[in-house]
């Protein structure tokens, strides 16, 4: 159950990192605005700058252990690198970069294809680092409250709130079922493995329905009327930090303009 372990680790990080107490609105604003610019500006330098900035913020300021951050980056990076390699080798048009001509086969790598592959790679990595910045420094509670402040539909927030809380409850349940099956040799062959996993999935589904009913009852007992109200006792963000975030993004735009002119 390494996935549940990872979730728990990220969650713990969000509550304990050195930036946990800094204003969540600023962090969400920074992560989202930078993310949008980093994927939409036509430059591969911008996402690279974004990646470096967020990495420094995470390691130096939030004091996230470097090996943990790296372990989070490794798998997505491998997948992205492979996909981008394919883009580089097989996509593009116009000016060819390399051309291999064999009697029965002709293969061209285009300059624009390489550009596209590289840009995509940087964009994904930049976006990834923005999201990691958000989830590693900001607790889900803070994110929910911030989303509420910017008027994201209530239904979405309420659903995420319940999913977040009960995800951990059900990960525990699933882990217990898994151990119980394993102790009775439920994973001793390939077929048994499939069967046992299916049983966990089915059982969990039924459990969620039951849990939903009980939670609904418990919420009713405390006067639930169809609205989950949350206590918004977070301080308003400081204007200075907001301006800082905007300045950073303005610089990103300038960088794009400069590199495009070149």
């Amino acid at each position: 159950m390494s996935f549940s372990n990872l979730c728990a680790q990220i969650d713990r990080c969000a509550y304990t990192n050195a930036l946990a107490k800094s204003n969540p609105t600023t962090k969400v604003f920074f992560a989202l605005l930078t993310l949008i610019l980093s994927v939409s500006l036509p430059s591969s330098l911008v996402p690279a700058i974004v990646f470096l900035t967020t990495t420094v913020l995470l390691l130096r300021f939030a004091k996230i252990p470097a090996h943990f951050y790296l372990s989070l980056l490794v798998y997505p990076t491998i997948i992205v690198a492979l996909s981008c390699l394919i883009i580089t080798l097989f996509f593009g048009y116009g000016e060819p970069l390399i051309e291999i001509v064999l009697p029965w086969f002709r293969w061209t790598v285009f300059k624009s294809g390489v550009m596209m592959g590289v840009t995509t790679f940087f964009r994904v990595e930049g976006a990834l680092s923005c999201l990691y910045f958000l989830v590693l420094t900001t607790s889900m509670t803070d994110i929910f409250i911030t989303l509420q402040r910017i008027h994201i539909p209530k239904i979405l927030i309420e659903m995420s709130l319940l999913i977040y809380r009960y995800m951990f409850v059900f990960m525990e349940v699933a882990a217990r079922m898994y151990t119980a099956q394993k102790l009775r040799l439920g994973y001793s062959s390939w077929q048994k493995r499939i069967r046992s996993t299916a049983l966990i999935a089915g059982n969990l589904f039924i459990r969620t329905l039951e849990q939903g009913e009980r939670t609904f009852m418990a919420m009713n007992a405390r006067g639930y009327d169809g609205n989950i109200r949350t206590l918004d006792d977070l301080p308003q963000p400081r204007r200075v930090s907001f301006i800082g975030v905007i300045l950073f993004n303005v610089i990103l735009v300038f960088v794009t303009l400069l590199t495009i002119n070149l």
């Binding site: 728990a8 969650d11 713990r12 509550y15 607790s139 889900m140 509670t141 929910f144 709130l161 319940l162 977040y164 809380r165 009960y166 951990f168 409850v169 525990e172 849990q211 009980r214 939670t215 009852m217 418990a218 919420m219 009713n220 007992a221 405390r222 006067g223 639930y224 009327d225 989950i228 109200r229 949350t230 206590l231 006792d233």
Partner: protein, 293 residues
Amino acid sequence: MIRMLFRLENVSYRYPDGTLALDGVSLSFEKGERTALLGPNGCGKTTLLLHLNGILKPTSGKVYFEDKPLEYTSKFLLNLRRRVGFIFQDPNDQLFAPTVRQDVAFGPLNLGQPIDKVKKSVDEALKTVGMSEYADKPPHFLSLGQKKRVALAGVLAMQPEVLVMDEPTSNLDPRASIEILRLLLRLNQEFGLTLILATHDVDMVPLFANKLYIMSKGKIALEGSPEEIFSNTELIRSVNLRSPRITHLFEILRRKNHLPVNKQLPLTIGEARKEILWLLNVKMDKKEKVNSV
């Protein structure tokens, strides 16, 4: 004067699947009292409790709160649920919010209290249960005992007059359960909260309750003070329960070893201690008499 808080009149409840969980239950809970509902698993304790704040509506019969029959309208129920706090057996059912503070605030916010007052009630409730330092933690960081206390705080923050609890000490280690019990007793003594609790923990009952109902198969089998009920060992066994261990010991000492134990058997360690000291004194007196003669 003791006032009647809840009165159940011939209440029956049948679950949609056809199980008759309550079968003509009549009983009453009095203000300021500590009542325990004792019974084996599946005897209908939880079902009965869920009638007290209108989560379940009796199939037949009536529930009265302060001599008024329960109305199942949202306005009536909101008011009832403010005054009657309910704590579920599994705190995971109750704790749904991402942090302890948010969860405790849920009730007061539903009552429409102003934010400052909500914050105050939340802080006070967390302080009462001794969980202030965990306010910003998510529930999945807490132990079961801590979760139970947070669940209690979530209800206390609504400033109820009655606490209804389903198995408050189940699955807790001895220390955590005694802490919860002490807390409950304090709430009863300091704030005059009426406590109604369901349990199958026989040894806990005499420490806690001054009134006891024994349930069996959806019916009230016995009713009285713990002293009255636990002295009737045969009857207790007939409903698949037992006396507290310490009571059982003294019963055996009386029956098999013919020790001159008081007719009223001790129910708690404290009472047993008194009894033993008394018995020793008796013996020592006799010995001294023998020696002197």
